[in-house]
Amino acid sequence: MSNTAQEVEKVTILFAGDSGDGIQLTGSQFSNTAALYGNDLSTFPDFPAEIRAPIGTVAGVSGFQINFGSTDIYTPGDESDVLVVMNAAALKKNLNRLKPRGSVILNVAGFDKRNLSLAGYEAEENPITDGTLDDYNLVQMDVTKLTRDCLKETSLGMKEKDRSKNMFVLGFVYWMYNRKLDVTIDFIQSKFGKRAPEIAEANIAVLKAGYAFGETSETFSNRFEVRPAKMAPGTYRNVMGNQATAIGVIAAGRKAGLEIFYGGYPITPASDILHELSKHKNYGVRTFQAEDEIAGICSAIGASFGGHLGVTASSGPGIALKTEALGLAVMLELPLLVINVQRGGPSTGLPTKTEQADLMQAVYGRNGEAPIPVLAARTPSDCFATVYEATRIAVEHMTPVFFLSDGYLANGAEPWMYPSADDLAEIHPKFAKPVEGKEYLPYERDEKLVREWAIPGIRDLEHRIGGLEKEDGTGNVSYDPDNHQHMTDTRQAKVDKIADYIPEQAIDNGLEKGKVLVLGWGSTFGAIKTAVLELVAEGYEVGHAHLRYLNPFPKNLAEVLGRYDHVLIPEMNNGQLVRIIRDKFLVDAKAFNKVKGIPFTAAEIKNKVAEIYTS
């Protein structure tokens, strides 16, 4: 029994099992422990589409991938080193994501006849014995039996006993990676300790049993050590994308001196923003679960008219419903934050899978000329900074703003060196005040072309606004042709002018000029970064620029594009940013598209860059 652990730089583990097996909890506990130990990490939860898919089937498999290491980690990992499977379906679905010669930790109880058949294996076919797993390092254990044995003495029913199976596996993996159990023990205590002490004890006992099994059994001799990452000094926490988004909204509201009103309707994967915001009413956050997405955005517009920060969030189909109201917000020129946590489309599409195919909708998708600024986050923690910036633009430029996230960012987690409140930039709303002897003009503008925010309840600022075209200055209804041209141009110029108030585009990774620029946006950041850094290390002259501002673009973007022979744009859509870039800059940018509901791997991007490198 070797107890000397082999040191490795980074590891990807994929936990997979039936959606009732507690896989997400297992994964997030392992992540929290790794994070507190000081590893850098990135996670990727993969939910089944149906809430209660038939037990034991491939459709019901839930997965949680974590990539953690002593080096910087930018993605949840292309392929996994370790695949933990609770049943045959989990193996069937995920074996193709395991590295050659990787380890499979397998619950044999999940491979009986019934499970094999539910997973779609032919009669007599059994991957444990038929050679399928010969090239892998296979660890078998009867998790179900071992868990039941451990809980023999308790008064719990069989079902309850089996529910702690996942703790056995988690304990075992903790042993494999030489981790302490305290984070998870604390978690179990706080979750069940008071309410159901027997359950808490059972879970802890099984967790410890799993750990002890690793120590005592002869089945597995490899133990690994992943040292803390050399991350920038500072204080860190773990954060998921939707959580970072909600916190960012609250922080921005605070720094703007505005209370927040959130109007929304539940939809995957945006709902957690509503859940998170609803917990923080004491930060002056009002949440309103509206009757539909239209009411969600309209109520937010009403709140903004009243001087609060109106916020609404949704995902593809819900954003489609909000479109008419977005046009109204453009005409009203009120601040409004619109969050789109993109998912696979069109229509209901792949609700639990990720895609970035709503960019065109965000930039262009309204009737009439209705320009709206668009920003996109790149990592789970970057949701904070980006939504903060989106809010600043909404408030300081009196406009609706789109903030784009996606399912992959929303549910993914990473360590975050969170800022202190003092570090955050102030946001300056421009509220109108009555001026003695001067008539108030609701559509009078400043040098940024921004009108003032006049809220009901203030004497002498009474005014009427609405969706009909308005006369410049007075805001009175006007059908005058020249005025309409002028107002259309002005609304566009107002949005274009935002480029004067945002940072220039930087090269995020790799070389400042060279053969290929990989231009990305959104959640492809980690995969592109990994690919570009590896390519540079191999001697390729490539750079990576990642756009946060998609409308308007940073002022120097044309110049940045010009510094490379080729521009490659990988996107999880059928070519949206690439069209906008070609249109605006007349460059021969190359599209690289993947619309599978799963993120790019770094390897895919590397290969593509290498392919066009010499062309």
Binding site: R237, I247, I294, A295, G302, H463, R464, G466, L468
Partner: protein, 342 residues
Amino acid sequence: MTTEKNPTPLTAKDLKTDQDVRWCPGCGDYSILKQVQSVMPDIGVEREDMVFISGIGCSSRFPYYMNTYGMHSIHGRATAVASGLKATRPELSVWIITGDGDSLSIGGNHLIHLLRRNFDVNILMFNNQIYGLTKGQYSPTSELGKRTKSTPLGSVDHPFNPLSLTMGADATFVARSLDRDPIHLREILKKANEHKGASMIEIYQNCNVFNDGAFELFSDKRTKLENTIMLEEGQPLIYGEQRDKGIVLDGYKPKMVSLDEVSADDLWIHDSSDRIKADMLVRFFDDPNIEGNFPRPFGIFYQEDRFTYDDALNEQLEAHIEESGSGDLDALLRGNNTWVID
């Protein structure tokens, strides 16, 4: 927001804007605008604290003609916009202006949800039983068989009974009035304003261009008395040219009776706090041209004291602040588990 009273008392004239009112000459909307402008100075709300929110339709141009705060929003959504405004600014006096198409067709969903939540707002639903702004298609309240541009052979849609729908959505103030009865309308507007909670006033409004005379039976001197009952709190339901007819309740069945046979003391006495009776009253909704129809009631059908959404939301927020203190941003940013790398 208001700290001091306006030094000069508000008059109806102050509430006029410099915008030309652009409804068709003879449109019932003029009268409603006039009644609102004349009532508002008396309701004890400062002009800057009034907000008029409308959807889209002829009637929804209303806010442009009121010299207060206003928003002309999008079709059917005034209720939703007003919900967000009222949730965040409960101290404002919020008035929703909407048409029958606006609130019952495209905006039906928001209407019922606003009512059940009981936001403290006033809804003035201008019902002309037609789509005015889009030039004369039938609306969800148009009668069966209605011939319009979109129903040249007659509509086969069963019409909505707006107040029954409103009762079904658990509204806390349900009333009907009409453009051609200014005194009644002003009275109802005042009562609606006094009511804490969602007030729904259906106002019969004559669209003299596309549906002229739709409510003539209820407004014309010659037919009015036979076809309407004016609801008055604590008073028996009496109607008729000679005030010689009344309504009695026979078990759960309302019946029209002649006062020759039944004494006024035995008639149905109006009690706007009685939900069951209100449910029946809003069902006095037959086609007035049909023989033996019930007279159409006007006035306040139902009124109930129920907590408002805006109060509940804001009280919950304040209670949470009291309990856990006003949120500390650094604590939120930090979360529950942190670690240090040095």
